[in-house]
């Protein structure tokens, strides 16, 4: 069990345990069964059961959280500057885009697919929004164009996977190249410098009440929406079912194709939004932005306990995964390691974490 809050979490239900059915007369009325739900004894029993779990199992269930904790403690021991609000705001700002995209990626992967084109979508969306906002002066219009691109890219991915029956790995690998190429072509590889202040302040370069970065606020909103969608909405149920056993889901009348397309569209939307956020924070959009970022996003999601095979995973887990990677990067920079060491350590941590979390 990889997800940080255990099995009760992903279907969004409480920790109530049913009394054993084993020796129960089967004709007990529903009322009776329900009444049995919240008996103290059961609670006691479940608590005791939890307490009996060996340490290793606890560790496995919450591996992302544990790694996150270890990372934070380690860095704060080495450098007092690490443990400040400013630095955490900084980590948050940097991790904001990865977290935003990890939300979409969780849905895509839980539904049984993968999306490698997110970083390219991010950069092209940033370029387009920059060009539009400079040409028209309208932030809203720029946002709309960028999101439109995201929807279009996601839709295309989704349709090629479901209607074209091409594995998502290949479809999105192709899309990754196409979008990156387009980002390069629009300006002939030149960056777009953005002067529009509304644009800056709307998505990236603004601290609410002087201390809270607006990009984090956007991200929190996205996280809550995604979590609620995956846990409480029927779409969420369909996503888990599709990734868990696509055939069984189809037999149950789940529109599996539409479900998959929707996950890609959401992914595209969030990637585009991240592009806008990045351009807004940097006051510029570059065609090369975010190269390789898709792998960070995927790593965050897997680190957070989502199964690459589909059917299992949580938004919260992915967030912790993303924060772990973000914190790791930040800490290594503060400690003065260069990017090569960062890459090396990050790779090690990911493999180690997944190794611990592995079932059995």
């Amino acid at each position: 069990m990889l997800c940080p809050w255990g099995k009760n979490f992903y279907i969004g239900q409480s920790k109530e345990l049913l009394p054993n059915f084993e020796h129960r007369e089967a004709n007990g009325s529903v009322k009776e069964l329900e009444a049995g739900l919240r008996t103290e004894k059961d609670e006691e029993r479940s608590v005791r059961k939890l307490a009996k779990k060996p340490l290793l199992q606890h560790l496995q269930a919450n591996v992302a959280l544990v790694v996150f904790g270890v990372v934070i403690v380690t860095f704060s021991l080495f450098n007092p500057r690490f443990l400040t609000f400013d630095n955490f705001a900084n980590i948050g700002r940097q991790a904001a885009m990865i977290i935003t995209m990890a939300c979409g990626m969780t849905m895509v992967i839980v539904a049984g697919n993968i999306d490698l084109s997110v970083a390219s979508t991010l950069s092209l969306a940033g370029m387009l929004s920059g060009l539009v906002v400079e040409a028209t002066g309208s932030t809203l219009f720029a946002l709309a164009i960028a999101l439109g691109l995201g929807i279009f890219a996601g839709m295309t991915n989704g349709l090629l996977v479901t209607r074209g029956r091409i594995p998502s790995f290949l479809v999105t690998l192709g899309m990754m190249g196409i979008l990156r190429g387009m980002a390069m072509l629009v300006t002939g590889t030149k960056p777009v410098v953005i002067y529009n202040e509304t644009f800056w302040r709307s998505f990236g370069d603004f601290d609410i009440l002087g201390f809270f970065p607006i990009s984090i606020l956007w991200t929190i909103g996205i996280v809550i929406l995604s979590h609620v969608l995956l846990t409480y909405a029927s779409l969420g149920r369909y996503i888990y079912a599709t990734g868990g056993n696509i055939e069984a889901a189809y037999f149950t009348g789940v529109n599996t194709k539409r479900t998959i397309v929707v996950t890609f569209v959401i992914m595209g939307l969030l990637a585009a939004l991240s592009g806008v956020m990045f351009a807004s924070r940097m006051h510029a959009a570059r065609p090369g932005t975010g190269e390789g970022m898709e792998l960070n996003v995927i790593a965050a999601v897997i680190l957070g306990g989502t199964s690459l095979a589909g059917g299992k995973g949580t938004i919260i887990g992915s967030i912790i995964g993303a924060l772990t990677i973000g914190t790791l990067n930040n800490g290594l920079i503060i400690l003065g390691f260069n990017t090569h060491v960062q890459m090396l350590v990050r790779g090690l941590v990911i493999i180690l974490a997944v190794l611990i979390a592995r079932e059995k």
């Binding site: 099995k7 279907i11 239900q13 049913l18 069964l33 409480y232 889901a249 009348g253």
Partner: protein, 511 residues
């Protein structure tokens, strides 16, 4: 001295075997003995611990406590390979063949004859497989070069058995081998006889009690992980076996349907199928189902039952013919259309088509009703949980709690989860495809009773596909007999027909 004597009588002996899983005590100290050359049945309700016991013998699970002796020597297998090297082979309840390899390659998987340079010698491979088939005098209803994916489940089962035999097993374990056999039954019985003659011992798990009484020598019954008894078959009969399994008298279990006269009032037609044809499988089949009626469709495996069920549900494309529901022609593109029209299907291949194994019992059952209890896109958890609970208790699904993953339930309880998943919806037309396969006697009776209750209010109908003739006789108002994709007979007075009569009918012998 006494020890030595015991040794000679029993080829294998288990003492006080215990095994628990998180939240479940699956075996509570079970003793079991096996004689050379006997067929020993292992019986019990769903979740009694049968599969767990044989998996411990096979080295799939480790026992928590107890001893196991093979030819008088204590053994403890850590892996199935170790058990195999001691001459024990098993056909698992969940089949384990590689779909894109052919039959011979599957049989000899991992032990392919190799030539110089370590390359597989295919000529020898087919020769060896052929020799195996000859040795046991088996008429296999397929070719050794057929890809496994093109075989029916029944045929796969034969391949599994051949695979086990190719290891020269002294002890063969069969976990519900006839769950998906009909036509191949004879092949199986034939193999069992040959094996007995050769002194091979067989442990046989099945929920088909008539068959058990016919082919087995001794019977051991488990209930809730405890051994109830071991008896010779000659001193037993059906009622006694059921009593041992359930701890209740036979009469309180079996579902005896009260005689119902077809109602006098005008029949309302629910489903009408006109000249349905499905490519090279089903030809011009027509029938109708009225409200308040259970219509049975029976026939051998391969007679087209599942094809029709899948087509009515919108999974198999239809070549010709029309389907009308409530007097309206139905345009079917996918299950979404048929579900909207109020049709539900309990598919035959439940592992693949029915369950999300990694998800909980609750989310599996809930999946089919999610759409009914959605407010503005949000799922109404409370109502759904109530419905789920109702099914779990009705079908006696044995699970420590609702959050248990489906993959950890016993085979029969997994079946029940799929049944529950569709019964929870109360559809207008319920299509059941072999619903009683693999579930125990008590649950079978409960299901039959439930189906009758469901149609009693005249608001829905049931189409009951089954090759278990007792299902048809005890549950249906009318029955169609399919033979090679055509309806060869329709019976309106099902209850008064004997099983033998129907049995002849499905072989194509029309009275």
């Amino acid at each position: 001295m006494r020890e030595a004597k015991r040794m000679s009588e029993f080829i294998m002996e288990l003492r006080n075997i215990k095994k628990s899983f998180p939240g479940v005590q699956a075996l509570r100290g079970v003793d079991f003995t096996l004689k050379a050359g006997e067929v020993h049945a292992l019986l019990g309700e769903n979740g009694a611990g049968k599969s767990t016991l044989v998996k411990i013998i096979m080295g799939v699970y480790r026992k928590d406590e107890g001893n196991m002796f093979l030819n008088g020597r204590e053994v403890d297998f850590l892996t199935p390979e170790q058990a195999q090297s001691h001459g024990i082979s098993m056909v698992f309840q969940e089949l384990s063949l590689i779909p894109y390899l052919d039959v011979a390659q599957n049989i000899l998987l991992g032990r392919e004859p190799k030539g110089r340079g370590g390359l597989i010698r295919y000529k020898d491979l087919y020769f060896q497989a052929q020799a195996l088939v000859k040795k046991y005098h088996i008429d296999i209803p397929f070719d050794l070069r057929d890809k496994v994916i093109s075989l029916s489940r029944g045929q796969c089962q034969i391949v599994e058995i051949l695979k086990a035999l190719s290891r020269e097993a002294k002890i063969l374990i069969l976990d519900e081998p006839t769950a998906s056999l009909t036509k191949e039954e004879h092949t199986l019985y034939q193999i069992i006889n040959t094996l007995k003659e050769r002194g091979v011992s067989i442990i046989y798990i099945s929920h088909r009690l008539e068959e058990v009484l016919r082919i087995c020598d001794r019977i051991t019954v488990l209930r809730d992980g405890v051994k109830v008894a071991t008896e010779n078959v000659d001193v037993l009969n059906m009622d006694k076996v059921i009593e041992m399994m359930t701890g209740k008298k036979m009469e309180s279990i079996s579902y005896i349907r009260n005689v119902q006269k077809a109602s006098e009032k005008v029949q309302r037609v629910l489903l009408e199928v006109k000249n349905l044809s499905i490519s090279r499988r089903v030809f011009e089949v027509s029938f109708q189902v009225n409200y308040g009626e259970v219509v049975g469709v029976t026939g051998l495996i391969g007679s087209g039952k599942s094809e029709i069920a899948l087509a009515l549900f919108g999974i198999n494309p239809i070549q010709g013919g029309e389907i009308w529901v409530d007097g309206q022609k139905l345009v079917i593109r996918s299950p979404m259309d048929t579900i909207k029209a109020g049709i539900a299907l309990v598919p035959e291949d439940r592992k693949r088509q029915g369950l999300v194994l990694m998800h909980s019992v609750e989310s599996n059952i809930a999946l089919s009703v999610v759409r009914d209890y959605v407010k503005f896109g949000w799922v109404q958890q409370g109502i759904i949980r109530k419905k789920v609970l109702e099914q779990v208790s009705r079908l006696m699904i044995k699970t420590p709690n609702l959050q248990q993953k489906a993959q950890y339930l016993s085979g029969g309880n997994q079946q029940k989860v799929v049944l529950g998943k569709w019964l929870v919806r109360k559809p207008k037309l319920l299509i059941l495809d072999e619903p009683t396969v693999g579930i125990d006697v008590k649950a079978k009776a409960e299901l039959r009773r439930y189906v009758r209750e469901m149609v009693a209010d005249g608001e829905c109908g049931v189409l009951f596909f089954s090759s278990d003739l007792n299902d048809i006789i005890q549950t249906c108002d009318r029955a169609l007999v399919l033979y090679r994709g055509r309806v060869i007979q329709e019976y309106t007075d099902v209850m008064s027909m004997g099983e033998e009569f129907l049995y002849r009918a499905i072989q194509g012998v029309v009275a």
